[in-house]
């Protein structure tokens, strides 16, 4: 008897747990969690709309406020074209420089162990933690007329501050860690067994890099380059300090937008902004493609 009773009790327990599983599987039947769900989704959508969609719409609306002809005029303006050229020049240079050095630094810090390794890794991150305005000021204090290198540069007639080299230098500085930061964890996780194996077979560094390291990092590298480009194009603070805002000479697109805006030339400011927005959207598409392809 007792045994039978126990068995039926066990069945009850099993039945209960099955019931409770059903409850877990169908949470939607409970009104409370449903409200929370839609509330959270609603909040997120609202946030995205106000923070992302609305500003984009405002840029578009303002850019075309005075009609297509005014838009075309602002975009095709001589100074706008020059600013676009300088932005692209600074971006391409910064990306090229940071890619080369980022790859070197990530390879060095992930595959070799030496004293001061941690300190070097921390140094590379400095541009992330320093305000871009400060970075610009640092360059002025170093390379400007009154700066440490001022006399030397003067002697050889090299202009860095308030000139194109300064703009490029500031852009490089601000975007310095992007490629490194993307590559470093990937290389670290790979370990160095494969490189050691290849070295033991007599492969030189160049061959080891192209045959073993590069295939492993190529997507991360592309991703780093994309992020670096996006940041380089939009850089304002450091470039603003060091450029001197010389129209047609040291103005990048973001600086040009600010000048137009300060001159109450709102339509033109937004028209020029739309170029930057278009570039950003382009980068976003490329980035999504890369992420999709990576999978």
């Amino acid at each position: 008897m007792a045994k039978k009773k126990q068995r039926s009790y066990q069945q009850d327990v099993v039945g209960d747990s099955i019931n409770s599983i059903q409850k877990v599987v169908k949470p939607s039947e409970e009104g409370g969690s449903r409200i929370v769900k839609y509330l959270l989704i609603g909040l997120s959508v609202l946030f995205l709309f106000v923070m992302l969609a609305l500003p984009l719409a405002v840029v578009a609306a303002n850019a075309w406020k005075e009609g297509w002809e005014a838009y075309r005029k602002a975009v095709m303006d001589e100074y706008t074209i020059k600013a676009l050229q300088l932005t692209l020049l600074a971006t391409v240079t910064a990306v090229a420089v940071n890619t080369v050095f980022g790859v070197f630094a990530a390879f060095l810090l992930s595959k070799f162990y030496f004293r001061g390794r941690q300190a070097l890794a921390a140094l590379i991150d400095i541009p992330f933690s320093i305000s871009p305005v400060i970075a610009g000021l640092v360059f002025i204090l170093t390379f400007g007329n009154m700066g440490w290198m001022g006399d030397f540069l003067d002697k050889y007639d090299i202009k860095i501050v308030f000139a194109v080299p300064g703009v490029i230098l500031a852009t490089i500085f601000v975007t310095f860690p992007f490629v490194f930061r993307e590559l470093f964890p990937v290389l670290n996780a790979q370990g160095k067994d494969e490189e050691e194996a290849a070295a033991l077979m007599g492969a030189n560094g160049w061959r080891i890099f192209w045959r073993i390291t590069f295939p492993h990092i190529k997507w991360a590298l592309l991703y780093g380059i994309i992020l670096c480009s996006a940041r380089a194009m939009g850089e304002f603070g450091a470039v603003s300090v060091i450029s001197g805002h010389l129209r047609g000479k040291t103005n990048t697109l973001p600086l040009h937008v600010e000048i137009l805006y300060n001159e109450f030339n709102t339509a033109a400011a937004f028209a020029v902004s739309s170029i930057l927005v278009a570039l950003a959207v382009l980068i976003l598409i490329v980035k999504s493609l890369v992420e999709w392809k990576k999978k």
């Binding site: 067994d193 494969e194 050691e196 194996a197 290849a198 070295a199 033991l200 077979m201 007599g202 492969a203 061959r207 045959r211 073993i212 295939p215 492993h216």
Partner: protein, 243 residues
Amino acid sequence: MYVEMKDICKTFDGFQASDHVSFGIEKGQMAALLGPSGSGKTTILRMLAGLDRPDSGDIMINGFRVNDLPGNKRGIGFVFQNYALFRYMTVADNIGFGLEVQKKSKAEIKERVEELLELISMEDLGKRYPHQLSGGQKQRVAFARALAPGPGLLLLDEPFAAIDAKVRRELRNWLRDMIGRVGITSIFVTHDQEEAMEVANQVIIINQGKIEQIGTPEEICFHPKTEFVADFIETERFSQGGK
């Protein structure tokens, strides 16, 4: 002696990894470096391979002092603990890499790769990538890759550690037979005394960077020289009996 370590010392940040290590291995022998983890056995292997440098002492291979010779000039093949197969290359490219580096002709590489694939009975898997292989197959590829350039000495770092217990014994026999067939002098590192006793014909027992005893498996088993060796063999046996 084909391989000789003479009074080797090595410290890492104050940690004595090798403490006056000396031993010699005859040509064609299969030696095991046996010891608990942290005893410094892998360090010895890495110094032989040229991956680490000794602080003092001489490393002799085939009658030459190789201390200042880079690893790739020492005529050695190295099988890594986790095989370290090149994951973006096919099995055939993995095996052929050493020959490719030596700038051998394509036909020559192809011939040697096919020969080795046949040796490890993986003729049809040359086009696979490492992640498509089982643990045992990976080890066989790592073995073939190490042999491809025709080294005089084969070094294996815990060759069975990454393989599950069931296949381990089978692979052990396979590797022993294979090395016997190729006739290459080999040294392998292990912390498993059963493995050392079964595969090697010379066992070197290491503890805390020092050599405790060198001898044949029988000598080690029946005539342990130090208390440590007796203890180590005893506890290992005991723990295996317990399983």
